[in-house]
């Protein structure tokens, strides 16, 4: 009996001479949310497709709850739900017809299928649009329907490929909420994302993937501390107040701020954002006037720069320094 939901060792997928996935190892604990973070073209979708039995690995092996994806695909398919990057529902059917179809394909008959369809439509707030053709669905509605279809068989492992890419912030927050609820029912989730904050918000562990390889793996905190923290940018109204501002930062946060060349701006590394309030109060007490301030999180680009030594856009350029494995 295994407590590991996914075990992958040295997965490789080659398209022509493009090593799309180039030796990926993963270990995902049951009941956890695992984030695969990487830019466009990193190999996230290809990795998911191999784990979900949609694509045969060219090398390496993977198993889902102990069942090998290549040798026992039919068993694996009973254990997974897959929500693809691009809607995997039928455009010509209505939401109800889609869910009824997938209920039937999951072995639910007649009344049981209708009941399950109704429940899912309600749970995913699709009741009003249930009979309408999917053509008129918004991106968020489509994703919700897609996710609902993946949940019919209540799979213990769920693959979500970029579940919030292209969604507006409000819809994205709703999707995060839904994913958290799923995990609370005992599901294991493997999701891919291009956004560090999304991985941070949802995932217990994160693998950073670049050009088909895992370049870093760990908890969100481990990852962030490896790339550096958020920083506070302060713009002073008067350059003359710089020394008092530096003192206040040292006093409240215990770190040294870096003044920028024109000496009216300070960059302050922030380990605990809650303490920023204390700093602002202190600055006002000291009579330091601010012209502006902003919090900067490390972006995915910075993560990449730090972890791989090249920027994310490089992934699209000819891979001259690629070392054949």
């Amino acid at each position: 009996m295994t407590t590991t939901a996914i075990e992958a060792e040295g997965l490789v997928k080659i398209f022509g001479d493009n090593r799309a996935v180039d030796g990926v190892d993963l270990e995902v604990a049951t009941g956890s949310v695992y984030g695969v973070l990487g830019p466009n073209g990193a190999g996230k979708t290809t990795t998911i497709r191999m784990l979900a039995t949609l694509l045969r690995p060219d090398a390496g092996r993977a198993s889902v709850f102990g069942h090998d994806v290549a040798r026992e695909p039919f068993v694996v398919r009973q254990l997974i739900g897959v929500t693809g990057q691009y809607a995997s529902v039928d455009e010509t059917l209505s939401a109800t017809e889609n869910l009824m179809l997938f209920c039937r394909l999951n072995g639910l008959k007649g009344a049981a299928a209708s009941r399950r369809t109704r429940d899912l439509l309600e749970e995913f707030h699709l009741v009003d649009a249930a009979a309408r053709p999917l053509r008129n669905f918004s991106g968020g509605m489509r994703r919700r329907l897609d996710l609902a279809a993946s949940l019919i068989a209540q799979p213990p492992l769920l693959f979500l490929d970029e579940p919030t890419t292209g969604l507006d912030p409000r819809t994205r927050a709703q999707m995060w909420e839904t994913i958290r609820r799923l995990v609370a029912t005992g599901s294991t989730v493997l999701l891919t994302t291009q956004y560090l904050d999304e991985a941070d918000q949802l995932a217990d562990r994160i693998a950073v993937i670049d050009r088909g390889r895992v370049v870093a793996e760990g908890t969100a905190d481990e990852l962030k501390s490896s790339v550096g923290q958020q920083s506070l940018q302060l713009t002073l109204a008067h350059a003359a107040q710089l020394p008092s501002a530096l003192d206040a930062v040292l006093d409240v946060l215990g770190v040294a701020a870096t003044p920028s060349p024109e000496a009216r701006r300070l960059t302050v590394p922030v380990a605990d954002p809650a303490r920023v309030t204390d700093l602002l109060v202190r600055l006002r007490g000291a009579g330091v006037d601010l012209d502006g301030l902003s919090m900067d999180k490390p972006t995915l680009d910075e993560v990449f720069l730090t972890l791989t030594g090249h920027a994310t856009t490089d992934a699209a350029s000819p891979e001259l320094e690629e070392i054949p494995a």
Binding site: T30, V75, L108, I152, P156
Partner: protein, 280 residues
């Protein structure tokens, strides 16, 4: 808790861990049939939603029947009335077989959609997405068959086989079209895009339907061509349909047609399914 009965719990309930589930290693025949029917139902909804895709099965039988009968009737059989018993079975076979090629084109288009990824990720019979689409398409063959026979009757065709003979002939044509559609399904699966399926299908169908006894008596052809026409399975099917509709007799040609159909399915259904599953 066994297999997929877990699906009967309500959403929000605790999910049964993977290790505690009873899992099957393969599909049962019963499941293959019910999966195919579910997929066929999907196909029927699609046909209802996109009536413009029925143009070929509605317009072609009407135009072709009118055109061929009035253009060739006098030249080949002396009169339109005398030509009808020859041409209606011929047109029927030609139209319905051509229709079965459209199945391949539409399947290719369909397979490029994201929903096929979901089908592949479900624990369903591997043959179901293909078989379901092909079963739903029998509706198209039924429409083409009905219209062609209807046109013939309107133009004065009075088949000697009676209602029973005509119905049997129609059934035979639909069964054969369904069997042949596996060839086009296979082409659809292996082709790069819908356009090339259409091109290849036309290349296969054009000689098969015209180098047959569908439109003209074989004895007017040069000897070398007669050899091909006589072995062409389309000729056997046309003869079988003429026998059934014209005299109500179940001739040996019916057996030949059915056997050929069985052989086609036995070869191309596994080929199509195998290539379908291999396709990334």
């Amino acid at each position: 808790m066994t297999t997929l009965t877990t699906a009967r719990t309500t959403p929000g309930e605790r999910i049964v861990p993977g290790a505690e589930r009873t899992l099957r290693n393969r599909v049962t025949l019963g499941q293959a049939v019910s999966d195919t029917l579910a997929m066929a139902r999907r196909g029927l909804i699609k046909i209802r939603r996109t009536p413009e895709q029925l143009i070929d099965v509605t317009v072609q039988p009407i135009i072709f029947t009118l055109m061929f009968t009035y253009i060739f009737g006098g030249a080949i059989s002396g009169s339109v009335a005398a030509y009808l018993p020859v041409i209606i079975p011929g047109i029927l076979v030609q139209t319905v077989i051509t229709t079965s090629a459209v199945t391949g084109t539409q399947l290719r288009e369909d397979m490029d959609k994201g929903v096929f990824d979901r089908f592949r990720s479900l624990p369903i019979a591997r043959i179901a997405p293909l078989a379901g689409a092909l079963v739903a398409d029998t509706v198209r063959y039924l429409i083409a068959t009905t219209l062609t026979i209807g046109m013939g009757l309107l133009m004065g065709w009075r088949p000697g086989g009676g209602v029973g003979g005509v119905l049997l002939a129609a059934l035979l044509v639909v069964v054969c079209a369904w069997s042949l559609s596996w060839i086009f399904a296979f082409l659809g699966v292996i082709a790069r895009n819908a356009g090339s399926v259409q091109g290849i299908s036309f290349l296969v169908l054009f000689p098969l339907t015209f180098l047959s006894n569908a439109f003209v008596p074989v004895d007017t052809m040069p000897g070398w061509l007669q050899g091909f026409v006589d072995t062409n399975p389309v000729s056997h099917l046309v003869t079988a349909v003429r026998d059934l509709a014209g005299t109500g007799t179940v001739s040996g040609q019916v057996g030949v047609a059915l056997l050929s159909c069985g052989a086609v399915v036995a070869v191309f259904a596994p080929l199509a399914v195998r290539s379908y599953m291999k396709k990334a």
